[in-house]
Symmetry: C2
Subunit: 341 residues, 2 copies
Amino acid sequence: MRETLLPFFKNATFIRMMIFGASELQDLVNKVLAGNRRAIAQAISLVENQPDRCADFIKYIFHATGNAFIVGITGPPGSGKSTLINNLAIEFRKYHKKVGIIAVDPTSPFSGGALLGDRIRMDDVQTDSGVFIRSMGSRGSLGGLSRATMDAIRVLDASGYDIILVETVGAGQSEVEIVKTAHCCCVLGIPGTGDAVQAIKAGIMEIADIYVVNKADRPGAQEIVNELKLLLSIDPSVKEEEHWNIPVISTSNKDKTGITELTETILRFNEHLKTNKVFSHERELTRRKNEILEILKVEFFENILDNLMNKQKWEEILNGIITKKTDPYSAAKSIIDPFLK
Amino acid sequence: MRETLLPFFKNATFIRMMIFGASELQDLVNKVLAGNRRAIAQAISLVENQPDRCADFIKYIFHATGNAFIVGITGPPGSGKSTLINNLAIEFRKYHKKVGIIAVDPTSPFSGGALLGDRIRMDDVQTDSGVFIRSMGSRGSLGGLSRATMDAIRVLDASGYDIILVETVGAGQSEVEIVKTAHCCCVLGIPGTGDAVQAIKAGIMEIADIYVVNKADRPGAQEIVNELKLLLSIDPSVKEEEHWNIPVISTSNKDKTGITELTETILRFNEHLKTNKVFSHERELTRRKNEILEILKVEFFENILDNLMNKQKWEEILNGIITKKTDPYSAAKSIIDPFLK
């Protein structure tokens, strides 16, 4: 089973995995910069499936990036992220913003059905040419999901999308890494599930810029809002962050309440970043550092190991561990030591 | 908010984070090898919270590892993993096996409530001294969850636990890495959710040794079993894997059906590994390689970067990116190039 069933299901991916020559690459760059939707889709496939070509491609478009406002929307499965993002996209369209949506959550309806055709249509936004929706298949990019997602965001940014909404499931380290590269992070919880507590446990809450209690039409919504506000009020760091009090906003996709308030709050946070240079510069440095670390982890680290280690060396080391002549930590040290000299 | 609210909630972790001296470390090693439950709990806290001491500790206990059979149980939130694991533990106890349980899923009842006292009691097994349950807090070990979980497994292994059940949520790369270090991987799906399809999408299915359709008392269970069997029957790799046909087992925690069959199947897979040396050796090499890669990624890579890069160098590079003088890929390359000479 391992490895071998997968290609069978990967046909759709294979078809998208065209090999680009140098001139085709330049052509793709031009089309992406011009906002061509088909080219954008191709470019995202490229950064997802051809990590070796990706660095070249990103170099060409990088000068055009940095204009989009990247908003991470994270919360557990079933917290209504996709519907909320759908509604947010509609709101941002009222401001004449071009909206990109990237879904990293494999349980998201944006990505969920694409494989076997049972996609839930987000009709409200999917027919709008000012909205581009893309799901990141965690299959194709396993081992480099964060890096691929960051590059997909860059593609949309370079193509002229003003707001990029990134949906992640909020569990798993890669997902946390992705959220860290957003300018603004909205953490979702829903009433009656102990999400607030879970978010703290999962290390998610400390990345929140805006807390959203979604499905606020359900009983217990006000209690969770109060609980969160209490938690936030005892936070001694608010002053350091130049007076951004993390808001707690109730939203309901059912009643369509709170969506406008959330949209305005996201835009207000954008203004806050623009007017508080020290705060936003520190964040920008952190964001950029995380990006580089992701690239280093995925691309170069594995390349270095490939150069340094061949099959025979691996077998020697691994057999040493299996026969208990060494332990994994000493083995790891012996691999990396040559670099430290 | 960032970073600063966290210590407030981390008190419980802080208390456990005692600093061990050399003699205390040896004392802890001895007690862990003797199966002392309190020492096991301390040791897992150590590998979780003190990565710098962890390598030393693992070296001391490593000779005693390699006897446990590690079973990964992975599936989406709400698929009934915890209850199934509870029931499996009871079954394994009938074989007089000592059972360790490690929950990596932050939504697991094993870990879920521990923070604010609303822990759902797994009474059936939590009062049994032959069962040790531990949840891995993704807070404390963010950045090294896979590595910490692998080491927690080693602690239980060295302490004489025969079967170690590892619960993961089956989403997120770290979780997939964790599952890869199990000897046997059970992938859970439930009827009516399109899990089978999701599992394929999420890259989970290719790691399955046993497929479990849980909540089989629900309508549609037989259909999903049939669908999975069909998918598995077209898999051309079965022969290569020395005749392990991936079984599809229906289980129900409600009706308590299928639990015995699943237990027997897990033990049968263990026998299969023992009798098929080539197959199991290949898998063992892969497992061990993954372990080393995790250690390299987390420990050494970050240490190397710390040595190489100071705050000023980072700022130079990051400002270069912010001002578009360079791009993230070129910047990453400039960091790593000195190593390649």
